[in-house]
């Protein structure tokens, strides 16, 4: 397993969410597979120079989503998570809303439409089995 996560402490997004989002992206992409062991909360906290509780919060949210099995003092293990057969309509609406906000923010920063479209296409291709 070679997986690296990246956070930006200057970002307005809380660090625990950035950690959770980064690990989730690796889980969805298949870079982390069932049975893989994640580093203990202390180790990841030290490597990212953030408080242990911040990492613990990220692990807990991923555990609540069914991605991780948490064992005290032994880190977290990736577990088999059945993909929900169909996302509830609320989930799709939330996704569309967040995507619209993200695209608007990127456009406001001057990112060209073609670049946004290319990024989205690339991400969709990565998700396809």
């Amino acid at each position: 397993m070679t997986a690296v996560i990246r956070i930006d402490v200057a970002s307005p997004v809380p660090v625990y969410r950035q950690i959770g989002d980064a690990i989730r992206a690796l889980l969805v992409a298949g870079s982390l597979k069932p049975g893989d062991l994640l580093p203990p909360v202390r180790q990841l906290g030290i490597d990212l120079a953030v408080h242990f509780n911040t990492v613990a919060e990220a692990y807990r949210s991923l555990s609540d989503e069914g991605w991780l099995d948490l064992k005290r003092g032994r880190g977290a293990t990736v577990i088999e998570r059945p993909t929900p057969r169909r996302a509830p309509p609320e989930s799709e609406r939330r996704f569309a809303q967040r995507m619209r906000e993200l695209v608007a923010a990127s456009r406001a920063e001057g990112m060209p439409v073609a670049a946004i479209a290319q990024q989205l296409r690339g991400m969709t291709e990565e998700l396809e089995p």
Binding site: M1, T2, R6, I7, S11, R42, G45, D47, H51
Partner: protein, 353 residues
């Protein structure tokens, strides 16, 4: 006598070389502990700061050596201690001055942090047998001395003055005879603890972590051999200092330091196993920036001491030189330092038993 003077001059000469090259043992994006642009080192200002630092470092070594000569000539042990400390303390103050000058050219620190999701091994690298070796080395002469207990005189010399005359003695008691293996075991225990904590509780490149643990092991073996020799030699009357004895000890220490520097430089060149080599590395000796060391310069006091209470790390890769520094913002660092300072106290107590 000439040999003794040459051996006395050696540590000062060696320290002078180490301090002279020290700024070159940093990443290119760090100059005297300050984050700078990768091409800053080529500027006239950087060269001026470096030249001023090196002049001061050489001057402090010369002052230290002259002080040492004077102290010996006047038979002043306290002056000798002062002279021996001078080059180190003087060079550190020169680094602090260079750090202050470099701060005017600091580049903004990055807010991006990365981490590998590969769990680190929790056990000591090399396995328990590697780390048991130094203790076995200490146990062997201790057993030898126990078997030859009757040959030990009631009082034996353990310290010698400038003229080579003994001026410190120990009695044939358990405390007097076994103080050397006990001190050796304490120091080796400290090496084991540092190696274990650097493995678990540090931030820096994987290669530097591995190299530091190896250096700790090598140091533990060297010290075990030294204290083992003292254990067997002093009570049986073979420990009087001679140019050969001192030369061997200093030679071994110098070899170890050179090995640490050479292997440390190689370690700094190794890319992280989980990350592609940086496209724009930035470095002296072609090295990429140390992983996890994009913290703001304000946390690095004088470029030498890391103080960040918000950072949970205990050991962090040095910005100047090889190895790790303590995070003095972490209360556990002060506990660790307290334990280290307790060792001389234990030594004193042991020698009085």
């Amino acid at each position: 006598m000439t040999a003794i003077w040459m051996i006395t001059a050696l540590p000062f000469f060696f320290e002078c070389i180490v301090m002279y090259v020290l700024p070159s043992l940093s990443r290119r994006t760090q100059f005297f502990g300050v984050t700078v642009a990768p091409d800053f080192r080529e500027t006239a200002e950087a060269r001026r700061i470096l030249r001023a630092y090196r002049n001061q470092a050489v001057a402090h070594s010369i002052i230290g050596f002259c002080g040492c000569v004077l102290a010996v000539a006047r038979n002043a042990p306290s002056g000798l201690a002062f002279a021996a400390l001078w080059p180190g303390v003087g060079s550190l103050s020169a680094i602090a001055l260079a750090h202050r000058a470099a701060l005017r050219h600091a580049a903004p620190a990055s807010s991006v942090r990365t981490a590998s999701l590969r769990p680190r091994p929790r056990a000591l690298p090399g396995g328990p047998w590697v780390w048991a070796g130094p203790f076995a080395i200490l146990a062997a002469p201790a057993t030898y001395v126990a078997l030859h207990w009757s040959e030990i005189p009631e009082r034996f010399p353990i310290h010698w003055g400038f003229g080579g005359r003994p001026n410190g003695w120990a009695a044939r008691t358990v405390g007097g005879v076994y103080q050397f293996p006990a001190i050796g075991a304490l120091v080796c225990l400290l090496m084991v603890f540092v190696a274990w904590q650097v493995g678990l509780n540090s931030r820096g490149s994987t290669a530097m972590r591995r190299q530091t643990v190896r250096a700790m092991a090598a140091l533990a073996y060297l010290l075990a051999v030294l204290f083992g020799w003292l254990t067997a030699a002093l009570p049986l009357g073979h420990g009087a200092p001679s140019p050969l004895n001192l030369g061997i000890i200093m030679g071994a220490a110098a070899l170890l330091i050179v090995a640490i520097v050479v292997f440390g430089m190689r370690a700094k060149e190794e890319p992280e196993p989980d990350q592609a080599p940086s496209a724009a590395p930035g470095l002296v000796l072609g090295l990429s920036a140390a992983p996890g060391d994009n913290m703001a310069d304000r946390y690095w006091r004088a470029g030498l001491f890391y103080f960040n209470p918000e950072d949970p790390v205990l050991f962090i890769e040095k910005r100047i030189g090889m190895g790790y520094d303590l995070n003095f913002g972490n209360p556990r660092a002060w506990v660790f330092l307290g334990v280290v300072l307790l060792i001389p106290l234990v030594v004193m107590l042991l020698s009085r038993l």
